[in-house]
């Protein structure tokens, strides 16, 4: 059996370099360096045309101006609320798919749950606008049923933003939950039942500990996507949306104040990263495992 001749070291190194070149180019030119640049941008201040000094002015503005940090806190709180609601809505469906429905029915239900998310978020938001606006379908239905005398405006409320965010996030919760619940052995639940466990105690002591990795993965992804969402809050919330990504857009594109926008961007990134880190710490999981699951 002929052995392949061992390649010369320089050749191997060249091949390895070529193989790694795309990855390094991608990660450094498009991820690492731009973020370093963004950080530098956020730590400077314009003192005269094309003259900048290092300063914390952008961050001072953020903490000094109540509008800015209130919008930041509001975005974080609403995102956390949307994540919790998504979990509540998604869990029974994931349970039904993983445990109650059988065979083809289960697969069918799963696919049916995924299909709306192949459609663009723009289209889904358009649907909600047609449903909820004052001249829309639901207000007309409410009048028709005699529940209200006048069509009511259902858009532009915080609750509307939450509905839109939960709707957009469902997929990212259902998929990791189903994967996790399917791996839970039914015999454990039966054993708990035989030992006198009731619905709640089984849920708390058997199901939730087992599903914790899936719950964490789903919550991390949903929180991050919600925090960074732009389309749903601005269209469903209108002028009242006060979402932090909108502030970043205003600074960067409308006001052309890139230094301020960069500082805002960094604060959002810091919050998002902190929540991801916290989620991993609390559940004791590794980042790479969670991302593969999600």
């Amino acid at each position: 059996m002929p052995e392949a001749p061992a390649a010369a070291p320089w050749y191997r190194r060249l091949m390895l370099g070529l193989l790694l070149a795309p990855a390094l180019l991608w990660l450094f030119a498009l991820i690492v360096l731009p973020h370093v640049d963004l950080a530098l941008l956020s730590f400077r201040e314009r003192v005269a045309p094309r003259q900048y000094v290092a300063s914390l002015a952008q961050y001072r503005t953020f903490f000094g101006e109540p509008l800015y940090w209130r919008v930041f806190v509001r975005t974080a709180v609403l995102s956390a609320l949307a994540t919790a609601l998504t979990l509540l809505v998604a869990f029974p469906i994931a349970w039904t798919i993983a445990k109650l429905a059988r065979g083809r029915m289960s697969a069918l239900l799963f696919v049916v749950c995924l299909i709306p998310f192949w459609v663009s978020e723009t289209v889904r938001t358009l649907g909600w606008m047609i449903l909820l606006r004052e001249s829309g379908v639901l207000p007309a239905l409410l009048v028709h049923l005699g529940l209200t005398t006048q069509p009511v405006e259902l858009l532009y409320h915080d609750a509307t933003i939450l509905v839109g965010l939960v709707y957009t996030s469902l997929l990212f919760m259902v998929v990791p939950l189903v994967g996790n619940l399917e791996s839970l052995d039914n015999a454990l639940i039966e054993a708990a039942y035989d030992l006198g466990g009731k619905g709640w105690s089984i849920l708390r002591e058997i199901v939730i500990p087992h599903a914790a990795p899936g719950i964490t993965a789903g919550c991390i992804v949903v929180f991050m996507l919600t925090l960074g969402n732009y389309l749903t809050p601005t269209l469903l919330g209108g002028k009242n949306s006060l979402w932090f990504t909108e502030q970043i857009y205003t600074q960067f594109i409308t006001r052309f104040n890139w230094e301020q926008g960069a500082a805002f961007g960094f604060l959002l990134l810091a919050l998002s990263t902190a929540m991801v880190w916290l989620g991993l710490k609390v559940s004791g999981q590794r980042f790479s495992d969670v991302m593969r699951r999600a």
Partner: protein, 286 residues
Amino acid sequence: MIPTLPRPAWLRAATALYVAAFLMFLFLPLAVVAVFAFNDAPYPAPPWHGFTLDWFLGNEAAGRIGLFRDSELLGSIWTSSIVALWVTGLSVAVGTANAFAMERAQFPGKGALSMLMLTPLVIPGVILGISILAFASRLAELCSDLFAVEADFLRPGLPLVVLGQFSYIAAIATLTISARLKRFDRTLEDAALNLGASRPAVLWTITLPYLRPALIGSAAIAFLMSFENFNTTLMLVGADSPLTIMMYGRMREGATPVLNAVSLFLMVASAVIALTLIRRGRSPES
């Protein structure tokens, strides 16, 4: 609880009711978008005025500009398609190279690199957009200061949109293709080499055909994600608007049902892609 345990009737009924309500919640927005694409009225709102195809076929003479006569919308679909093709090509190519690097090669710092490859997925899209925007204009300024060359492709526009979308879609392609390469039985390659095949021939006739489902799957996902991307694109877009940006602008102004028509077109297109992929995923050879 699970089917093998006794479940009270009310719980069964509640479960069925919940599933029904959930499905209605999922599909109601899509259904109204589709229905009002055919409403004979200038706004996508009730009441129903009768069936019309004006929002697809109408022209100026009819007083209604339908999808197929709306050159702005058609142009933005074209723009989105070009961007998506570039993003797909780049992501699948880079994703494949990354998969081989991570699964086959050994080098110092591999763990750190594989971690770094996942970071684009946890950076909000808006921030990917602004960081690339700021970095690109710094480079453009550097170009014009040092070499007196105007690097227009570094200014907001389609090349930046492609790079911005690619920056995180490449991570998804890498994950998808790596997962399949990891399950590959390497003795097949050894067998082919023993039988006298050259390395390129082994790659072309053994390894790549095995990877084909992952390549096709990640290409379809990359295309769809690029076509539907909004956050990153919003920050990097120049004069030519891709479809999502165009639709967003019109939705803020309160548009005619021509938007419903283009949405219906998108729904049908994504459903076709989704169902083809699911069908392929089920077929025994993959």
